[in-house]
């Protein structure tokens, strides 16, 4: 694989996807500290919101320690070079939430839908373009639809006004060839002014390998998070990604020593439990289940005495999609009924 001279933009998700790992409880101080250190390391784009994005604070996904406004207002003014992005899932967040985030000074918005449901993003993508934002269509659980169908959904988002399309491996299920097929098709069918991105999860330890496959197939934006701080077994660990990119001659603009230090000195001490591949997060990747179900399934195990792995396998069989956290407790209760 020769990727020498390729330029990519890394996008850190620790302050958004990592919120899942702390049940959305980052303090303002920790968020600001980590964002400033990432900025200092040369990270060009940093996502800051509740794990489920704007409007995400809820019983179903967990209440945030602070509001999205409070987090964004604290972080945005502290950035020297880095730009701040926010996530919005239609059906949960609304254009009013988008207006709030714009008011706080975000530069990028990522409008996320299930990989077959892009047409719920029309209101939000159009509004984001009116605001002049860098507007990303974020197609989640991209393993659940073939590349051709993913392209069809991406076209809708581009028609609404998105200038970048992501294949999002929310379950950490994709293998490098699957990534190549999806990113390659998107890249070949859109003109150069549409960027293509990849968001990985490390549930099968494929974060780095999949990201390299994506770059080779034409992706120019790569998500990850420092120390892999994210849902499930985490995202593509960005300090590792930067080191690999340096070895391969891929240009990221991020300082490898500094980002290693952010991982070790700031991110790791904030993790309540280490972000790693345990039997439950491995099950996510194995069964193709939304990564942020992990802690909810562990909680259901504790409350109802049904193994998290069994709950996650059943959710995979049901074809549960992102956002269906309410089904975790329901599935646990159903399994309990059957075994009674």
């Amino acid at each position: 694989m020769n990727l020498t001279g390729k330029k990519i933009k890394l996008h850190d998700n620790a302050l958004r996807d990592g919120m899942h790992s702390v049940s959305h409880q980052f303090s303002i101080d920790d968020m600001v500290r980590m964002a400033m250190a990432l900025d200092e390391a040369g990270m060009p784009l940093i996502e800051v919101t509740h794990g489920d994005g704007l409007g995400g604070s809820s019983v179903n996904y967990g209440f945030g320690r602070h509001t999205n406004r409070e987090y964004l207002e604290a972080v945005v003014p502290k950035m020297k070079n880095a730009k701040i992005s926010a996530l919005l899932l239609p059906g949960l967040g609304t254009v009013n939430d988008l207006a709030m985030a714009v008011d706080c000074g975000i530069s990028t918005i990522r409008i996320a839908t299930h990989c077959t449901e892009a047409d719920v993003s029309e209101q939000h993508i159009k509004k984001a373009r009116e605001y002049g934002l860098d507007t990303v269509g974020f197609l989640m659980m991209a393993h659940m639809t073939p590349p051709e169908a993913l392209l069809e959904q991406a076209r809708k988002m581009v028609d609404y006004g998105a200038n970048c399309i992501y294949a999002t491996d929310s379950a950490g299920y994709l293998l490098p060839d699957d990534v190549t097929a999806r990113i390659g098709l998107l890249r070949s069918e859109f003109s150069d002014d549409i960027e293509i991105g990849f968001h990985g999860h490390h549930n099968l330890a494929m974060g780095i390998a999949n990201s390299l496959a994506a770059i080779e197939a034409g992706a120019s934006r790569i998500d990850g998070s420092v120390a892999g701080f994210g849902a499930g077994a985490g995202n593509t660990p960005l300090e590792v990604m930067v080191a690999v990119c340096n070895r391969m001659g891929i240009i990221t603009g991020v300082d490898v020593d500094k980002i290693m230090d952010v991982a070790e000195d700031i991110a790791l001490p904030l993790m309540p439990t280490p972000t790693r591949i345990d039997r439950d997060s491995l099950t996510l990747g194995y069964a193709g289940v939304y990564s942020s179900f992990l802690l909810h399934a562990k909680r259901a195990e504790k409350n109802h005495g049904v193994p998290a792995r069994e709950i996650l396998m059943e959710l995979g069989r049901m074809g549960a999609v992102g956002g269906q956290e309410d089904m975790i407790e329901d599935v646990a209760l159903e399994i309990k009924k059957k075994s009674a």
């Binding site: 019983v59 059906g91 077959t116 449901e117 999609v321 407790e329």
Partner: protein, 301 residues
Amino acid sequence: MAINCAMIGSGNIGTDLMAKLLRSANLNPVWMVGIDEDSDGLLKAREAGLKTTHEGVDGLIPHIEEDNIQIAFDATSAYVHGENNRKLQEKGVLVIDLTPAAIGPFCVPPVNLKEHVGAQEMNVNMVTCGGQATIPMVAAVSRVQAVEYGEIVATVASKSAGPGTRKNIDEFTQTTARAVEEIGGATKGKAIIILNPAEPPLMMRDTVHCLTKTTPDQEAITKSVHDMLAEVNKYVPGYRLKNGPIFDGNRVSIFLEVEGLGDYLPKYAGNLDIMTAAATRTAEMFAEEIENGTLKLKKLA
């Protein structure tokens, strides 16, 4: 004598509604209004012997007097409801709004249908399918004790969510959340909608989370939930309590499943049924009022 009705919108909801109205004793569906001559809904309406137009509400307006249309159901989209409503009310037609436009007062039959009796309203709003499925349960909790926060999660099969619903997704969440407060009785409301494309399509699922102000009275809430279930079952037989109520601190969670009658879309699309059944029940109540003279329709200029 049945009251003559028109349906505006020949999509999933309008077509399902037609099947319900054809069975009603005191409502008589006469017109189906669409915008696409070849739409399945208009085809089905012609087959059922209804008059149809594909010129939108303007195609209906000239026929209102001659066909004595007194009630119209709007199942188009929140964006066009305001204009449809204005044109219909000029002709003195009572409008049942099945879009999330919510310019009229909310109606969730098992909770507040009786409040609309004698109120002389010319437009009532049916909230959303998710609202019809969940607000009765928020009310079932809040009539026992104060609910500080009510949150509903509605999951529907992708195939049962037409283009109107998709374009109106913000209106769905906002209107439902407002009705969780105003009709459900929660101090603060939140609504979440999820589309799931699984094949075969999944049954509509709804989850209701309530945070009570004080420790929940488990026995009283459980009884109230079962009583409400029986009320909803009177017009939606496939409305089922799957699990719960579960109590965890001040959280009360109720897991519901809604199976439809399979009138238009198959039985998985309980979201269509609960909406159209609620609208039919509401219109039947108004039809009785029109017949017995307690509701006099007036033209609004």
